[in-house]
């Protein structure tokens, strides 16, 4: 629905506009901002799809040769006669622009195509694998928040020593490469201590280590951002007021300062959700978890264009949705935004 249409409907359904100009303006701005958001979301997704399509199509090397060679485990040139049926089937010989519009047309009707390698619809390929990745992503995000809130509420602006050790650890955690952390966790807790299964699978027991692998570095990032805000919050007049009212230190920290200081963390979480989604492949391969990350890597390796595009579009959607959620969360946490 375009902005213009929206305006017309508003006008029609509300003939008595003069009497309620204020509300109308509100609805109007609300709808307009929703429209702009939707448009920009579609723009982001279109750009992601186009970019992926072009990269995949323009990379050197012949796609039909690739498919045929992978089917046969051979690395060689192919004759035109061998390639003809494949080119015919996937339309690789059509002009790129034709292929592109066909791709966009399919996309617009929700058809992500069929995997070149698995011969299955991309929707099905993604559907089969998305659940474990979503579980992993959200668990990692929760773990990251839990770690950083406990550490910050517990240490910020308390004892100088603890505070600086904790903030040092945050910097360290933020810098930990996930592939290294993952292998260490695997070797120590799964192989040597035997506390977790080595082959994670989709069970609860197999979730914690991969989630920690992704969550610990993220906790470091979040912690660094929130700590600064939290420390300055502790010196704000509202914190002083709360104390003067006789509120205990923990109460002040949890009820006033924390709420004030998590806003930058929330912003970061929107980004983190998308980033966790793409980092999931590391945890997935170390802990042998099924999931989209692994599918994506395989698809990129074999240039399975429909699957790569499908997943990239999905990740773009997730970024967009995550950012919308962040905005909603903002208004919930910060009452000032409701009235403005």
């Amino acid at each position: 629905m375009s902005i213009l249409e929206t305006r017309e409907t508003t006008l029609e359904t509300d003939p008595d506009q003069a009497s309620r100009p204020r509300r109308d303006r509100h609805i109007f701005t609300g709808l307009r901002s929703l429209g702009t958001r939707l448009l920009s979301a579609v723009g982001v997704i279109w750009a992601a799809a186009t970019f992926t399509f072009l990269i995949q199509s323009l990379l050197p090397g012949d796609r039909a040769t690739l498919l045929l060679n992978q089917l046969n485990g051979q690395i060689q040139e192919r004759t035109a006669a061998e390639l003809a049926p494949i080119n015919e089937k996937y339309g690789f010989t059509d002009p790129l622009i034709v292929q592109y519009f066909r791709f966009l047309g399919d996309l617009a009707t929700g058809n992500l195509g069929t995997s070149y390698q698995l011969h299955k619809p991309v929707i099905e390929v993604i559907g089969d694998q998305i659940a474990p990745t979503i579980v992993l992503t959200f668990t990692s995000l929760l773990i990251a928040w839990a770690i950083c809130i406990v550490v910050i509420v517990g240490t910020a602006k308390r004892n100088r020593f603890f505070s600086s050790v904790a903030s040092g650890l945050e910097a360290l955690a933020a810098g930990l490469p996930q592939y290294w952390l993952g292998v260490i966790l695997l070797v120590v807790f799964a192989l040597n201590l035997g506390l977790f299964p080595v082959v994670g699978g989709t069970g609860i027991g197999g979730l914690l280590l991969p989630a920690l692998t992704l969550g610990i570095p993220l906790a470091g990032f979040l912690g660094q951002v929130i700590r600064t805000e939290f420390e300055s919050g502790m010196d704000q007049p509202f914190a002083l007021t709360a104390r003067m009212r006789g509120m205990g230190d923990t109460g002040v920290r949890l009820r006033h300062v924390l709420r004030h200081s998590v806003l930058p963390g929330i912003t970061l979480s929107g980004w983190a959700l998308g980033s966790l989604f793409s980092a999931a492949v590391i945890a997935e391969s170390i802990f042998t978890r099924p999931g989209l990350g692994k599918v994506l890597v395989t698809a990129v390796n074999s240039r399975d264009l429909p699957v790569v595009c499908g997943i990239v579009i999905l990740v773009a959607v997730i970024y967009v949705v995550a950012n919308l959620l962040v905005d909603v969360a903002y208004t919930l946490i910060d009452p000032r935004l409701k009235t403005s």
Partner: protein, 556 residues
Amino acid sequence: MKNRQPAYQPTSRSKAVKAGAVASAAALSLLLAACGGQTTSAEAGTGEKVDGGTIRYAHLQEPACVYGGWIQQAFLSRQVLDSLVSQTEDGSIVAWLAEKWKVSEDQLTWTFTLKPGLEFTDGTPLDAQAVSDNFEFWQGGGNGTVQAHIGDYYSSSRAIDATTLEVKLSEPFAPFLSALSQGYFGIQSPTALESRSEAENCESPIGSGPFTVGEWKRGQSITFNRNDAYNSAPQNAKHQGPAYVDSVVWSFIQDNTSRFGSLASGESDAIGEVPTVDFDTAKAQFDVQQFLTPGRPVTLSLNTVEGPFTDVKVRQAFAYSADRKAVVDSAFLGVVPFEGNGTVSSSTPGYNPDVAADYPFDVEKANVLLDEAGWTERSAEGTRTKDGKELEIKIVFGLNSIVTAEGATALQNLQEQVKATGFKVTLVPATQAELFSGQFSTPDSYDAQLGYWTSPHAGILYINFRQNTEKKPNPANTTFYNNAKIEDVILKANSAKTTAEANKLYGEAQQLLSDEAVAVGLYTQTSSVASNPKVKDIWLEASQGEPVFHDAYFTE
């Protein structure tokens, strides 16, 4: 199945924690080895055979389909498909779906007698017509590797009666039976091939084998369920009739540490591709089998039509320039053997062992040859030059798809060693997509390429060295080397009357190719399996080294 104890018990907590704290990525395997070494292996049971159970097997690579022309697919399809014949370790051929066979005097007509009364798991009769349909399916593009093996020789096939199949060849082909023994030649239900979708035939081909394809959880595992009606095991199997175990869960664990760890922690009963760093530990605690894959070894194919390697003296000098055995031994910790023969690997019937020692490490000879070839000047870095051009060698290799990390290390060792004689080697690790899309298949794209090609017979020489002509291109000839005389010897070998005669001629062809130094051997392609001692009788079949679970069983 029940009450099986893990073969590996973790060491005491404090030690493990301490060890974990100091562990770095490089030390991990050592750490594992150290921990493993102190544990006892599987507790001694009564050793009595248990019926049923599920074997949990962990493998490295997960292909897109169960059936296809890639060795990774043969690993899977071997579990569900039977072939006409089977090859044994000594290279002889024994009965499988075909009970017996004979060949006509002119060697052009093969008559196979099939075991009577066989059925595919979808109920379609496995008769001569079904096998003939499979030949047609392969030839029609169903399997490019089948075509590479027999395409130039196969002419037609027909069912004479339900159990008698006649295959006509256009020329005598001595390795015919050997070729048929490979997983690519697994016989599928023609009904399934015709009536089912491409996706179904990709994910769960229908055969007559010991197992059927159950659920495939992509990225995780495939379950193979026992075919209770199985009655067509090859003669070299350890028993006839259905498999002992109920099912095999074939999981895909790419990470070496995790894969070996899953065996050590008891989460897997057997693993494939035992990591080289864990090989000794594995041998101490588990049953380890290693198979040297026949065919072309992992070899450097030198580009004989463009660049410095067009000169045979430069090719020979390159072969002399490195202690290739040391290069391989240090990279693979002695687990994978060096192969000096660049065209055929040591486990292939018809292998010529003399060729392997043709080019020992000899810097002096290399220098003389390079001087003779006119690469007389040296640049400031010590690289030889000719007419102002550096002696630069671009080696392309498919990292992680064709060549393992150890293989890449071997190449780095080689790169360092050949510096002394004045070669400047540039290593180009190619991604899977780059490699398979043909970017590095043309003469202008590399000076040398590292790769292997499995084959249970020395007829691989025909695949790799048949002349590449405009009329009849041979893209599998990665050296681009055309030599009518050598091709003639190979053709004679292919059409020899007896295997002995064929092997003699194959040996001759290997010598001729070695004299020309068109391919410089590095190491043998291998496959391996390590299994918990409580699981008995997993074996690696001899055509390509696929693990066979039909005879495997658990013990108390």
